[in-house]
């Protein structure tokens, strides 16, 4: 810096310092607000029927690209219900310019797990609700027949085939 260059004014320096400290302090609340605004979860927890192929294992599927990015299905469990369907939530990211679009299904469902929205016992509207305290299980991205992504909580690499879906083509 050359000697003739001016300095920041003390009043504005202090104000910027306070602003930055506040920004860091408020981040958890801002994240909560952003999540509420961006995440559209239809019907809370719904059911996800895997087109009659849920008992598979006998049919081997290859990999396929995700062609429908408007929706992502986040499964809560790989245990089928009595009717053979799977508990899941359908989610998307709100896009002001058109229909929702999800470029990273894993991140979206991971975020829902992280906020306890998929563990089946959490009420996000409860006063005691505190996000970021929930464990995210290992997740696998599968591709449904309609081209939408389904994110499954499992550490089994072959879970997509087991559930009658293709693995995600990268």
């Amino acid at each position: 810096m050359t000697p003739e260059e001016p300095q920041m004014t003390p009043a504005r320096t202090d104000a910027i310092r306070d602003l930055l400290a506040e920004r860091v302090r408020d981040e958890p609340e801002l994240r909560r607000r952003r999540l509420r605004r961006r995440l559209l979860v239809w019907g809370g927890v719904g059911v996800f029927a895997i087109g009659g192929l849920s008992t598979a294992g006998s049919i081997l599927f290859g990999s396929a690209p995700v062609t429908d990015k408007a929706l992502v299905y986040c499964l809560s469990s790989v245990e089928p219900q009595a009717d053979g369907s799977y508990l899941s939530s359908a989610a998307t990211m709100a896009d002001p310019d058109g229909p929702g679009r999800v470029d990273d299904a894993l991140e979206l469902c991971g975020e829902m797990w992280r906020h306890g929205l998929l563990d089946g016992s959490t009420d996000p509207t409860a006063a005691t609700y505190s996000p970021d305290e929930f464990e995210v299980p290992e997740l696998q991205v599968c591709v449904r027949r309609d081209g939408a992504a389904a994110v499954v909580p499992s550490d089994d690499d072959a879970i997509c085939q087991t559930l009658g879906m293709a693995t995600e083509e990268r």
């Binding site: 810096m1 003739e4 001016p6 004014t9 009043a11 504005r12 602003l19 930055l20 400290a21 981040e27």
Partner: protein
């Protein structure tokens, strides 16, 4: 408890985990350098102060992408400063609500400083400013990091997320343009000399 002498990496880790004191310490460590770089581009104290605020707000927004180059945050912050200054009106729009909360700047101070500089008789400063402004944003960022801030080529390349070869070629091109634009201006010895940073590559 934050130690003021803590390394940038340790401070940044603490800051990005939500320790406001660590973030404020980083701000205090680099605000003068960022202000100086911003002022050289804008010639206005109030704009340069707003750029400082925006650069650190951007650092927070992009905290997962921050690059610590040779143990220092400065190269990355300077690269952000170059980007913010190139798109100042867009950056000001993004953070308009926060900037509006800053105290009103004393415009008289700005005017007095500019007038002082003019009276001080520094025609080459204005010529350099104009020649730099005529560069493309990419070339200008390279010139500012390598020639003005005197960062090594490798550090500038890391901060700008560019290959070293690209930085080198941009620098070469920018130097030629500056030399031709400033051919009629009497410049200090050594400025924009062709061998300034070659040894770093």
């Amino acid at each position: 408890m934050i130690d003021e002498k803590e390394s940038d990496a340790a401070l940044w880790l603490a800051a990005s985990s939500g320790t406001e004191r660590a973030f404020v310490t980083i701000f205090d460590r680099y605000r003068a350098r960022i202000f100086s770089a911003a002022y050289r581009r804008t010639n206005r104290v109030s704009d340069a102060e707003e750029i400082v605020a925006i650069v650190f707000l951007e650092a927070w927004r992009l905290r997962k992408r921050v690059r610590i180059v040779d143990g220092s945050l400065l190269p990355w912050l300077l690269a952000v400063t170059a980007n913010v200054t190139s798109n100042l009106s867009r950056s000001q729009r993004r953070y308009a609500r926060m900037i509006a909360r800053l105290p009103v700047p004393d415009e008289q101070d700005d005017h007095a400083l500019v007038t002082d500089e003019r009276l001080d008789g520094r025609p080459c400063r204005q010529a350099i400013h104009d020649a730099m402004a005529a560069l493309s944003p990419g070339d200008r960022a390279v010139v500012e990091l390598c020639l003005v801030e005197e960062l090594p080529l490798a550090a500038a390349a890391a901060a700008l997320e560019l290959p070293v070869g690209t930085v080198k070629s941009r620098l070469h091109r920018a130097r030629k343009q500056l030399q031709s634009r400033l051919a009629v201006t009497e410049l200090p010895d050594g400025l924009f000399a062709t061998n300034t940073t070659e040894e770093v590559a």
